[in-house]
Structure formats: C-alpha cells, structure tokens
Amino acid sequence: MTDVLHPRPSPIIAAMYTLRDLDVDVIVMHGPPGCGFTASRLLEEAGVTVVTTGMQENDLIFGAEQRLVEVLKKVDEEFSPKLVGVVGTCASMIIGENLDAAIKKAGIRSTVLPIDIHACAGPNTVGAIKVLEVAASKGIIPNEEFERQKEMLMRATALERERGMTSKPYLKPHRGATKLKVAKRIIEYLSQNKRIAVVLNAKKETAYRFADVMRAIEYARRRIGGYVVYVANTDPNIGLPRIRRYSMDILRDLREAGVTVDYLSGGLDEYPVAGERAAKYLEDKGIDLRVLCGLPHAIPDLRVEDILVTDQPRELRNFIDSGFTFAVGEISTHSMLMGARGIVNSELGDTIRELVDEVQT
C-alpha cells in the first residue's frame, strides 16, 4: 500500500454523514468540543442537530461516561428525537469509553445508535459501514440493504486505491481547466452535430450540482442543435429514503429543464458500479464526446479527450497529471449543497449558458 501524505476524510466524518442519510434527528459527538467541527456545521445546515459532550483533559484521564449520560438525557428533553447517533471520537475510543453502557444508563425513549469509531480506524468508508451495521442490528434498515451498501462502500475504497486520491502518495490541489475552454469544446461539438454523452456518476448530494451540467447542455442543444445522450445514477428506487429523495428531486428538475434521462445507471450510492454500467451502455452508441460528471474515475477506460467534471482539487490534480486536459472543477460543491432540495447551478453550466446566449444575441 502507498503511504498517502495528503489529508483524507476520516471514518468519523463518514459516520456522521451516513447518520444524516439515515435521517437521525441528533448526532452526539462523544469527545472534545472541536471533534468533527467542520462537518458538524455543514450537517446542521442540512437539518441535523449536532451536539458534543465536550470532553476535557480530566475526562480523558477519568473517563466521561457520566457526561455522555447527561448529554443524552438533555438531548431527549430538549429535542424529543426519534433517532439519535452517538459517534465516538479518537478521544473516547482510545480511552475505551463504553458507549453502549452509557446509552443504557441514560435510558432515554429514542432509539440510539452507538457508533464506536475513531479517526485511526482505516479508510473513511469504515465509518459509514459501521453506522449501517449498527442500523441493521437495530432494525432501522433491512439486512440486505446493509449488505448491498457495504459492498458498494468496499468497492469505493478499492476504487480510491486503484485510481482515486489514495493512488498517489501526494497530490497537490489543482483547480483544473478553465470553464471557458471546456464549455467552448462542448458547444463546438454540438454545432458540428456530433454525438455527446453526458454521464452523471455522482455521490449522494453532490449530484444536485453535477446534474446542472445536463441542464446546461440541454439548454445549449435546444438552441444550437446536436445530439445528446443522458445517463444518470439517479434511480429513485435504490438506497435509503433520504437518498431516493435526492434522486427524485433531480429527476424532477431535469424533466422541467427538458432533459430526458436515457439510461438510469443505478442509485446515488452506487457510483462504483454505476460508472461501469454507464460505460457499457454507451459502448455501441457511436459517441464522439463524453462529459463525465461527479466521480469520473469510477468510469472505466477514461480517454484523454473526455471532459471530466469533479469537485475535489486533488482529484483534478490526479487527472491533469495523467493528461486529461479537459478536467474541470466545481470546487467547494459539497459545502453549498447542505439542505438543497433541487439542482444547484454549476460554474460549468453557467458558462455554457452564457456562451450560448452570447452566440444567439
């Protein structure tokens, strides 16, 4: 295994997001106040209440079970939640806090999911798997759903290792090609009446932004002409209820923008396999230009002429260094999507629209 030097997301954060996907009402971080701070803020914007037990030095030495019991009781009083997640942190896990025992002692009415996890525990997906496992054991999700998602998450980890951000020891952030360069290329293909495929292969809520590229290209096609095939991993029948809602929102907005999705490649939590399905589907369609949005590296056999739209500056570095000169970034996508319930404009999309309007007037 390569030693990866650039920062990676931690299992704790993945656990928090997965709890959000399960529609928990409250997340209790059992640790020092700063643990998971950035993620907590974002999640609060998405409607999840995040609280901390605020461990101090003395709690590290003497244990903080009582703190957790009290915080759980307070949470119960204050928010009357149905579903609560207690997430471990490095601090609590290293000293061996017993989340289960504290939850029992608190004896509150809501279902509480204890997530024994900390940042040393491996790739971020470990945190997500842990949450799903606990949720399945408490009957919140069916066991088959847990198995399916676990398989997806393990494939996602493998994908990162083979082709993604953990495939290189160090990746210096890169902002990617300019939106103008990429938008011009798309418009050029449309005006030459060539065949374009737009593939949305995104992860959960990031799809709200990447889907905008489809809307923009459809907007351009209607004015300039050309031929476009749309593939999206927004199957509304796959995944947790919250994730299905995302798919439904996106399909609704695409429909409104006049985009007909030609092929549903899978659910929003299936990007490691949906990418393969999308590539297969396009094989015999005589496509001249592929626009791959979200997690392009999950699509096999990328070609240097492909347009790759993604949000991670290190992912972009990886692409640019590998010769993909049309890799373009939708930076900080994630932070602008919290609480979104519809497609959000993208920079590439806006650039395409602007260029088309210029040509038309």
Binding site: I94, I95, G96, D100
Partner: protein, 262 residues
C-alpha cells in the same frame, strides 16, 4: 461458551491459576483458549514448555491481514494467545488490549469454543484493562486474592469496577499465602461483597518447581495434590451458576475483618 476473565492484584498468581485451569479444562477434552492480556506476554509460558510466542498485536503490526492461525497450541490442546502491547514507557497498553480483544472476537472466536480465559494484568485501571469485561467478551469474572490486606484491597477495587460495568462475578479464588485463618477471611470477605469463595488453592513449592521447568502443575506433577486442587477449581468454574454483580465494601471493613481473625 464460557468466557471468563481472571483479575487480581499484581503478583497474586493469576497467570499460574489461569494456565493450570486451562490445562485442566484441556485435559477434559474441552476446546479451551488462554488469552494472556499482559504486555509482557509471559502468562502462557507454562502451557508452552517455557517458550515465549509472537504476540497478537506484533503480528497485526508486522503482517496485517495474514491468514495463519492466531494461536499457538500448547499443553492438552489449549490454544494460547498473548495479546502483547508496547514496551514499558511507550504507547498505550490499554488501547492494545482493546484492539486485540475486539479483533480476536471478530475474526477468530468461533462457536465451537468451550471456554475462553482472559488472564488480565493487575487491577482494572482503565478502559483498556476493562476491555475483556465488555459485553460480548467475558461474561463472568473470577478474582484471585489471598487473605492479605493489600490483595483484598485490590479485589475490592476490582469489585468496584465490576459493579460499575454491571458484570457478573463468579467468585473469589483464594491463592493461599499461608496466613492464619485465611480461608475464613476470604470466605467472609466474599460474603460481604455479595459473592462466594469458589476455591482455596494451597501454597505448594511444587508450583515453582514446575514453573522452573516451563510446565503447569497439571503437566509437571499430574498426580500431586496441587494438581487436584486446580482440577477441582476448573470443575467448580465449569459448574458454577452462582453469578452475581458484587458490591464493594469500605476498606475499613476489610481491616476490621482482618483484626477479628488475627
């Protein structure tokens, strides 16, 4: 499956008792595992002819994911594991125990095991040392003590841990230091904390002799009365159904008890 943990003051003879009980259970044909949780990793030596084995954590570190059995088979088929841990003064031994116990439970312990014995170092000092007491791991605990104040004091502290963690105590094992009225003292103390003395193990030089030869008494002197004492303890543990969450007492009460029996 019985999953037991042996606690007690440092130096009281936990490893000797654990290893001999394991050997006696192995002799009965039971699938028995001995898990030494001391970072020094020397508790299983008498089951292994005096040999020291590669520790579980060391293996995890040097060759993670490797698929050879985690244990070394010792006398009477007892499967021995030493969790290991950092050398003195480095890292966190408690964390080591947590990781090792979780990993063992997840990856190696199967349904066909009859008894797992955790030989835990000293007192329950932190979350790590308490790890074998967690739900799913050990479900009954035995405390080794003698009739001396300090070991009863330590036992009382362990009881405090058990009460706090809501774990069942199976009883006290008196490892005799040959002090006056020892059996009575330990029985009385056991009663006071809401438990019982499950066995009295006499002091016998044969134990050291066998240990010097790298053997348990069950192996080294199978006909001895000492070997019988260990066998009786093993039987008593197997049959024991008197499991209760104990209650600690005031150390002053221990002193009073000792004064009464001087």
């Amino acid at each position: 499956m019985k999953q037991i943990a042996i606690y007690g003051k440092g130096g009281i003879g936990k490893s000797t008792i654990s290893a001999n009980v394991a050997a006696a259970l192995g002799e009965r044909g039971l699938n028995t595992w001995y898990i030494g949780c001391d970072p020094k990793a020397d508790g299983s030596m008498t089951l292994l002819g005096g040999r020291k084995i590669e520790t579980f954590l060391e293996r995890l570190r040097s060759s993670p994911g490797e698929n050879r059995p985690a244990y070394v088979e010792g006398f009477n088929g007892v499967k021995c594991i030493e969790t290991g841990g950092p050398i003195a003064g480095v890292g966190c031994a408690g964390r080591g125990i947590i990781v090792a116990v979780q990993e063992l439970y997840k990856r190696y312990f199967a349904d066909n095991i009859d008894v797992i014995i955790y030989d835990v170092p000293g007192d329950v000092v932190c979350g790590g040392f308490a790890a074998p007491l967690r739900e799913k791991f050990a479900n009954e605990v035995y405390i080794v003590t003698s009739g001396e104040y300090l070991s009863l004091y330590a036992a009382n502290n362990i009881v405090r841990g058990l009460e706090n963690l809501r774990v069942n105590l199976g009883g006290l094992i008196c490892n005799s230091r040959e002090i006056r009225n020892e059996e009575r003292i330990v029985s009385e103390f056991a009663r006071k904390i809401g438990s019982h003395m499950i066995s009295f193990i006499p002091r016998d030089p044969i134990v050291r002799e066998c240990e010097n030869r790298g053997k348990t008494v069950i192996e080294g002197a199978p006909e001895s009365s000492q070997a019988s004492a260990y066998r009786r303890l093993a039987d008593a543990i197997l049959k024991n159904s008197d499991l209760r969450i104990p209650k600690p007492i005031d150390p002053e009460e221990i002193r009073a008890l000792l004064r009464e029996n001087e």
